[in-house]
């Protein structure tokens, strides 16, 4: 069990090698790819079983890898409650994604499956990395297969979309690389262990720049307004599996990056930029909802709805309290499931009709009752109806946001609840309700067994997470507490740093947050008030350097 994480991460890689040597028999290639992803998923179930509800990293492997002089980079992996569910989500979505384009992709099946599995390696690796450099490697590794998936097996405008996706992401990640290097040199000789970086105590001015570099990379990936325009293009052009993975997992890299790196590494900068990020998120929610409303292409609509949903995640994460972060994390998983399912659904009808324009449909309910039912469940999950997963996450996010200093933002964000109903239901109505007027739609077949098999696990998860989310939340809480303490500790310390170090704006932003740390963190950090009162006597901020 010691090497289970490596096992999970590299089973797909073994699959890639296996596929490489296999003959070009499409059925066999698909079968092997599916088998590999299923095995990965089954092994990853072991993670849940063995997971202990504690704050520390578990299943840790730390092996020296590259060493050159003082440069030391380790293969250091491990998970905590935050990354656990994202790993599971990845392994869970993968077989579904592979099944989804079972018949849609007929050309270059071998390369396609290799790309998918390679993508999985990248995603899993990024989630489990505890070494900043290793994380960067996996982060970049994801990019390449996705680029090919969009660029080779995509739609009409695929090259534009793929290049846009690639360059957008690359711009961000290069800045992040610079920031990683800077942090490394600031921290002094040693390895890239993130826990080491957590405690180096950078001065606020430096943090600002580093945070911006990291935030840009993650914000592009999230994507946050106004860096989102690659997403609709990429989603629309990508094949179904690509869209599903993009929505379900790849976008989570951005939010996960904030939770794992940007916030704990740069607490002062986080406090300083929280209003900005919250503003962008809220704009993103309202903006994307309004834009989604007017879309004519179903897939684009879903893509814009992703932007709105991830806006919620960002609000939750930056609320920096248990409810907010737990909600944000849940919302990440929920979004993976619901939006993944929506993309699958769009894929189903696209495969049948080779169009995604809303006006080409109408009245499908009559012709495809099973499809209609599934579509409706997923739609309502995306809207966030209580009893489905979408609600739990959204509610906790809003609750957490309301408790934190982001109250006004949260209220505006809540209006997204209304808007999401508007655009989703309007789309649903136009596609599914009404007369079955288009003669081309009158011969549509309902879902076949394969398609139902794909959807059933997602539907089950929608309800399980909506009705009994406790196991999910419980396993996260200790890690979230740790994160909050890490993110708030330095903020408190910063209060006593002379105003010359930080400009007044930052101080103004930081001070209410410190006051809120006491009630918001609640039982998580009972020592906080004490720490606050002791500070003026011998403040740790001076020694932290």
């Amino acid at each position: 069990m010691d090497y289970i994480l490596s096992l999970i991460t590299f089973i797909p890689l073994a699959g890639v090698l296996l596929l490489l040597v296999m003959p070009r028999n499409n059925a066999m290639l698909r079968g092997v790819a599916l088998g590999v992803s299923l095995v990965t998923f089954i092994v990853s179930i072991g993670l849940i079983c063995e997971f202990k509800t504690i704050a520390d990293y578990q299943f840790v492997e730390n092996i020296p890898w590259i060493k050159a002089g003082s440069f030391q980079m380790n293969y250091h992996v491990g998970i905590d409650g935050i990354s656990l569910w994202l790993v599971i989500l990845t392994t869970f979505i993968m077989p579904i994604a592979i099944l989804s384009t079972w018949t849609a992709v007929e050309e270059k099946v071998k390369e396609y499956m290799i790309c998918l599995l390679l993508l999985q390696v990248g995603m899993l690796g990024a989630f489990i990395s505890l070494d900043l450099f290793l994380f960067y490697i996996f982060w970049e590794l994801m990019l390449i297969p996705m680029y090919f998936i969009i660029g080779i097996w995509g739609g009409k405008n695929r090259v534009y979309a793929a290049v846009k996706f690639f360059i957008y992401t690359m711009v961000g990640s290069l800045l992040m690389l610079v920031a990683i290097m800077y942090v490394y040199f600031k921290a002094g000789a040693g390895d890239f262990d993130i826990t080491r970086f957590y405690s180096i105590g950078l001065d606020p001015a430096t943090q600002t720049w580093l945070f911006l570099a990291f935030a840009l990379a993650f914000a592009i990936k999230v994507p946050m307004f106004p860096l989102h325009t690659w997403l609709p293009d990429a989603h629309t052009e990508a094949p179904t599996a690509g869209s599903v993975i993009l929505a379900a997992v790849l976008l989570k890299m951005g939010t996960y990056g904030f939770v794992r790196f940007a916030i704990p590494l740069f607490p002062d900068a986080t406090a300083r930029f929280t209003p900005l990020i919250a503003t962008l998120s809220v704009i993103g929610i309202v903006y994307a909802s309004l834009v989604a409303m007017m879309q004519e292409d179903v897939k684009k609509l879903v893509a814009y709805s992703s932007v709105a949903h991830l806006g919620f995640v960002m609000i939750g994460v930056f609320a920096l309290n248990q409810q907010g972060i737990a909600g944000g994390m849940l919302q990440m998983i929920n979004h993976g499931i619901s939006t993944g399912a929506l993309f699958l659904i769009v894929g189903f009808i696209y495969e049948r009709r080779h169009t995604r324009l809303i006006t080409d449909f109408g009245g499908l309910s009559k012709q495809m009752p099973i499809f209609a039912t599934i579509f409706m469940i997923v739609t309502f999950s995306s809207i966030g109806l209580p009893g489905t997963n979408g609600f739990v996450g959204e509610f906790l996010v809003l609750l957490g946001g309301f408790e934190s200093k982001l109250r006004v933002w949260t209220i505006i964000a809540s209006s997204g609840v209304i808007l999401s109903a508007v655009y989703m239901l309007w789309m649903f109505q136009r596609v599914m309700f009404g007369e079955l007027s288009n003669p081309k739609n009158q011969l549509l077949k309902d879902l076949n067994v394969r398609e139902i098999v794909i959807m059933v696990p997602l539907i089950v998860m929608i309800f399980v997470m909506g009705i009994y989310p406790k196991p999910f939340i419980d396993r996260m809480i200790p890690s979230i507490d740790k994160l909050i303490i890490q993110a708030k500790k330095t903020q408190v310390a910063q209060l006593v740093v002379p105003a010359s170090v930080i400009d007044n704006a930052a101080a103004v932003v930081a001070s209410p947050s410190a006051e809120h740390a006491v009630p918001a963190a609640g039982t998580a950090s009972p020592d906080m008030p004490d720490g606050h009162s002791i500070l003026p006597a011998g403040h740790p901020a001076g020694e932290s350097k």
């Binding site: 009893g387 007369e435 989310p469 406790k470 809480i477």
Partner: protein, 668 residues
């Protein structure tokens, strides 16, 4: 028995699952309908058991909470899947399961032969489950599941005839308007939770715990904000101004749905919610005032529209909106028990009215269908004189109409009169009380008018139905008329459990059982109310008698006008419309509220969305992105000319470069 409270929502859930998953295979309508009806009837039986046990317990012993399983726990936030039994929720479950059972039974007959029969029953059961969760939830979040769940079912059932565009539109409109309300509900929940937690360190959304901590809440201030938000939620669900326009459109659904959801149960959720949190609402005089004013305004506003509609169900829909306005008027004036009382009686007579109209439509539809006529089966202008061919429907319909009009002796009288009296006498709103009473009274007059207009146009006078269809008209089958009879009976006598003290005293001091029953629930609220009550109010026996008489007279006036206009002198309505064409057109078109909303919200939203997409997203953001790319490309193609592709040029540049570099190092 209390421990088995979880059975109540479980039965309909089971019914939903069976019908939803297997209904298509079962095919037999009797079995499907039977399962659906039995499921809710089972809940009714359990509810009866609980009621009996609760009656047998002392008033101080009537609160019971049952935790099923922990739902969302995150930090100091805890929401369990848990149920609360107290006199208020018992009243509600009795109404929901009782009326629900009857309507299920009715639906077996009404929906006979419909495509998707199983779907209908599945949805209906799901609705009942959600509604029961709503009323049984012991915290705001469980209530919210039900709250949204009923919205969902309402969406599904309004959109039942999904191939009709109007049905789809109506369903969407209902859900979105409800969502606006839900937004208010959520913000209210957050505000209350945050304030209590932050200032009093009571982190809870549990009703009973909030009740215990209610004394920590201030009068006005943050409570006003929170309660106003909650009230927005209530206006959405209960179709009050400004979010009422969805309810008339919701008549696109099958008639039993209109009866169950859009008259008897779901739309009263807002009233129930205010009653459930009366101890919070009453702490904000401003909110109470807003509720009362909105309630009164809705009552009169919807009533005016109801006078000019020709679709039988639309008249009833506006009547529902208007009656809900009465309930809110009661809530807003602190007459919580009266509001709930009216909720209950309204459930009886309005369900009966809707089902009766359904019976009429059913018969009309059948007749017109057989006559191969395409007349609208719901248009009252095509009816008339139906009382002979449909006696049972007619009698029950008449009883309910009398009840809603407020004729003494019938249930509506007791509840409506109680509301009007309390609106007049409760000491919260000072001089406004008389205005509220006045509006309420006028609305009652309108009510009597349009309801009797409905009865006269439908059942009296000469038959205006297509002559060929006339012979096909006949009374509906038993499965439809039995629920009508039961509900008609309840509409007649249901009011006697809540006799006004005044009347009770006449008969040897019969107490107001209903008020007594609910007293423990609203006790605390009344106490808080005294905090800012003004000068004791006007408790004058003579005045009360006077007002009661006045309301009876008012009702009679309304009936008389209706009689004159629609039975005695049938040209009058025509003359009236030609005299005031603008007024009639405005009323007929519902005061152009839908158009106003389209103009104010829908179209700007669409235009703005379009602008953001085409103007901002594509032009600005992508413009910048592609612009950067274009600039880079432009420079590249400019520099490309240095790369001529001729070896010579490369060689030349290389040589020159080498010379330059060497020269620099040698001669520097």
């Amino acid at each position: 028995m209390f421990d088995n409270v979880w059975l109540i929502p479980l039965f309909p859930l089971i019914g939903f699952l069976i019908n939803g998953f297997l209904g298509k295979k079962i095919k037999n309508e009797a079995i499907i309908g039977g399962i659906g009806t039995l499921a809710i009837f089972g809940s009714f039986l359990v509810s009866c058991g609980i009621l009996i046990e609760m009656i047998s317990r002392g008033p101080e012993n009537r609160v019971f909470e049952k935790v099923l399983f922990p739902w969302i726990h995150a930090g100091n936030f805890k929401a369990d899947m848990a149920f609360l039994l107290d006199p208020l929720s018992v009243v509600m479950i009795m109404v929901v399961t009782g009326v629900g059972s009857l309507i299920h039974l009715y639906s077996i007959g009404y929906m006979h032969g419909e495509e998707g029969f199983y779907r209908f029953f599945a949805y209906l059961n799901l609705f009942c489950m959600s509604m029961l969760l709503l009323v049984l939830g012991n915290n705001m979040l469980v209530m919210f599941i039900g709250w949204e769940g009923v919205g969902l079912c309402s969406y599904l059932l309004i959109g039942y005839y999904f191939h009709k565009k109007s049905a789809g539109d109506a369903a969407k409109k209902a859900f979105v308007m409800n969502r606006v309300g839900d937004f208010g509900f959520l913000v209210g929940l957050f505000t209350l939770y945050w304030w209590l937690g932050d200032n009093a360190n009571v982190w809870t959304i549990n009703f009973m715990e909030i009740k215990k901590a209610a004394h920590l809440l201030p009068y006005g201030g943050v409570v006003t904000v929170a309660t106003l938000c909650f009230f927005v939620g209530a206006t959405g669900k209960s179709a009050q101004i400004p979010l009422f326009t969805w309810l008339p459109d919701a008549m696109e659904g099958p008639t039993p749905v209109s009866a169950l959801i859009h008259a008897a149960t779901m739309v009263t959720a807002g009233v129930y919610m205010i009653g459930r949190m009366s101890f919070v609402f009453i702490k904000s005089p401003d909110t109470m005032m807003v509720i009362a004013v909105v309630g009164a305004a809705t009552a009169i506003f919807a009533a005016t529209i109801g006078t000019a509609q020709n679709d039988i169900k639309r008249v009833l829909a506006y009547s529902t909106v208007s009656q809900l306005g009465f309930m809110f008027l009661a809530m807003g004036t602190g007459a919580f028990a009266a509001g709930i009382f009216h909720l209950m009686t309204h459930a009886f007579f309005k369900a009966c009215l809707f089902l009766g109209s359904g019976s009429v439509i059913h018969a009309m539809h059948y007749a017109l269908h057989h006559a191969h006529s395409h007349d609208d089966a719901q248009d009252m202008r095509n009816m008339g004189g139906l009382r002979k061919s449909m006696p049972i429907t007619f009698i029950t319909f008449l009883v309910s109409t009398i009840a809603i009009s407020g004729i003494p002796g019938f249930s509506g009288f007791f509840s409506k009169d109680e509301i009007l009296w309390q609106a007049f006498s409760n000491p919260y709103h000072g001089g406004l009380n008389i205005v509220l009473w006045g509006i309420g009274a006028v609305a009652a007059c309108f009510t009597a008018f349009y309801m009797f207009r409905l009865v006269f146009m439908t059942f009296y006078g000469e038959s205006r139905i297509n002559p060929k269809a006339k012979s096909h008209l006949h009374e509906s089958p038993l499965v439809i008329t039995i629920p009508l009879m039961v509900l008609g009976f309840l509409a007649a006598v249901g009011g006697y459990i809540g006799l006004p003290k005044l009347v009770g005293d006449l008969f040897g001091g019969i107490p107001n059982y209903f008020e007594q029953w609910l007293e423990p629930v609203f006790e605390q609220a009344q106490e808080y109310g005294h905090h800012y009550a003004q000068s004791g109010g006007h408790h004058n026996v003579a005045l009360e008698w006077g007002l009661m008489g006045a309301s009876v007279v008012i009702a009679l006036v309304g009936i008389t006008i209706a009689f004159t206009m629609y039975v005695k002198n049938t040209e009058l309505p025509g003359k009236f419309t030609s005299t005031f064409p603008a007024l009639h057109r405005a009323v007929y078109n519902k005061w152009y509220i839908d158009e106003l909303y389209d103009f104010l919200f829908v179209n700007p939203c669409k235009a703005f969305g379009n602008f953001l997409w085409k103007g901002f997203d594509v032009l600005v953001v992508d413009g910048i992105v592609n612009g950067v790319a274009a600039v880079v490309k432009g420079w590249s193609s400019a520099f490309r000319y240095t790369e001529t592709g001729y070896v010579h040029n490369y060689a030349f540049v290389m040589a020159a470069g080498t010379v330059a570099i060497l020269g620099y190092y040698i001669f520097r």
